[in-house]
């Protein structure tokens, strides 16, 4: 138990939003396959540290499916010199492009899933504030996240009510009742927003949000491993090597 808690607090430190620019990986040139290997190892290390179940990770990564499909089509529709793979004539440039898209998108999606899994939402908002995101925008995001379940739940109930009254649309022009649901939902969400606003004013809200970001960002060894600095370093070395600035 104590050990688990210690682990939790050590992971919490590197959960700093400072490693968000993990998207730096998107700057590594596709020919530097080894660089992606290092990126993948770092993401894998992070996945192990935050103990995300493989099934959860896989399910949440499904959002990239359409782009993977697009990438798979590239070697077939790409232009330029062609090469023979397993008896199929494929575009060389298309193959590289497909590899680049799949590798970068997969790493990016995996990193985002890990971020969302390991960092409490409130801390993500604090991190946004520390990154100098306008405070009112962070406040809007906070209200949105807090009321998302309320609004989605209400929408779900409206939907069940509509379907239980026998609505079963099959074609676009039969969507009027569904649209009425959406319209009613907008009115309800808007009016709820107005009530929240009035309640805030009644409790003395003066029109400016307090700063909620803590002053000490914290440090940690683990955090350094998956920090943007290490990822940028890998990307920079990869760029240098492929540009023949450094002899490997």
């Amino acid at each position: 138990m104590r050990q688990a808690r210690r682990c939790r607090s050590s992971t919490r430190r590197w959960r700093s939003p400072a490693w968000w620019p993990s998207c730096w990986r998107s700057c590594s040139p596709p020919e530097a396959v080894w660089a992606f290997g290092i990126h993948a190892a770092l993401v894998g290390l992070a996945a192990g540290l935050v103990r995300i179940p493989a099934r959860v990770l896989a399910r949440r990564m499904l959002v990239e499916t359409p782009f993977v499909l697009f990438a798979v089509a590239l070697p077939f529709i790409g232009m330029g010199p062609r090469t023979e793979v397993l008896g199929l004539s494929l575009s060389e440039q298309g193959l590289w492009a497909a590899w680049a898209i799949i590798a970068k998108a997969t790493l990016g999606v995996a990193a985002s899933v890990l971020l969302a899994w390991s960092v409490p939402t409130a801390e993500i908002l604090v991190g946004l504030e520390r990154l100098r995101c306008p405070r009112v925008l962070v406040a809007i995001a906070g209200f949105m996240i807090r009321y998302l379940d309320v609004v989605a739940g209400e929408l779900h109930r409206l939907q069940i009510a509509r379907i239980s009254r026998g609505d079963d649309p099959r074609r676009l022009w039969q969507a009027r009742a569904t649209a009425a649901t959406a319209g009613a939902m907008f009115v309800r969400a808007f009016e709820r927003g107005e009530r929240v606003q009035q309640a805030m004013a009644a409790r003395g809200f003066t029109g400016s949000f307090p700063c909620t970001a803590p002053r000490d960002p914290g440090t940690g060894v683990v955090r350094a491993v998956v920090s943007p600095a290490s990822l940028i370093a890998v990307a920079a070395v990869a760029v240098a090597v492929t540009a023949n600035l450094v002899v490997p």
Partner: protein
């Protein structure tokens, strides 16, 4: 569909990020005139609504279904400034909490899905509303035209970004033809859904429809 990391190259993503930051700054300044800070709760609820309504599936045909993208819808209901901020917040939250859209591609996604519908397509809406008669039908026709335009223009913005920073060698004419063809169909769906939904709001709370502007409220039949 949200662009993931690495689909468009670094410089183009960075440029789109700069445009996104600038656009958000302008929208914040414009919205501040309307006392944005005290309306943050309402804007957050509108963002939550947009997020939730994207989970509501509308029938299309043959068992397939689509959902509202909602950029133009938000602009018509709460105005382009609050609307663009709400959609931007939706995209940021989808990116950070749901891994939907890459962090480095956030600027691209904000430009395509927040700015193009709420600024460019809303401009088309204003022009169409001026050209159409100042009635409920005129307003809804302008909404339909702008909703269709919002989807096609977003697709064109994507093609332009792909042309600038695409990581592959697909011929641009093939890509743009395919993108426009598909998105005209999606746009028709978006137009029908947006129009029906704006009509539903117009029937219950016409005062909430920002885009109705100077439209006389007593011209709108109140359904009971």
């Amino acid at each position: 569909m949200h662009i993931p990391d690495g689909f468009i190259d670094g410089p183009t993503s960075l440029a789109a990020g700069v445009v996104a930051v600038g656009g958000v700054a302008v929208a914040l300044r414009k919205a501040a005139d309307d006392d944005l800070e005290s309306r943050a709760a309402m804007t957050g609820l509108v963002a939550a609504f947009v997020f939730a309504v994207q989970m509501l599936n509308f029938p299309v045909a043959g068992g397939t279904s689509g959902h509202l993208m909602g950029g133009l819808f938000a602009a018509v209901l709460v105005g382009p400034w609050l609307g663009s901020l709400a959609i931007t917040v939706v995209l940021v939250v989808q990116c950070l909490l749901f891994a939907d859209g890459g962090i480095s591609a956030l600027g691209l996604n904000i430009v395509n899905m927040a700015f193009v519908p709420t600024f460019v397509a809303y401009g088309i809406f204003l022009l169409a509303r001026k050209a159409a008669p100042a009635t409920r039908v005129g307003l809804l026709s302008a909404t339909a035209a702008a909703a269709l335009a919002s989807v096609v223009l977003a697709a064109l913005a994507f093609v332009a970004e792909f042309a600038l920073g695409g990581t592959t060698t697909v011929s641009l004419s093939t890509l743009s033809a395919a993108m426009i063809g598909v998105h005209v169909l999606i746009g028709i769906g978006e137009a029908v859904i947006t129009t029906l939904t704006v009509g539903a709001v117009l029937a219950t709370r016409p005062d909430l429809v920002y885009g109705a502007g100077q439209l006389e409220l007593n011209e709108i039949p109140v359904l009971t």
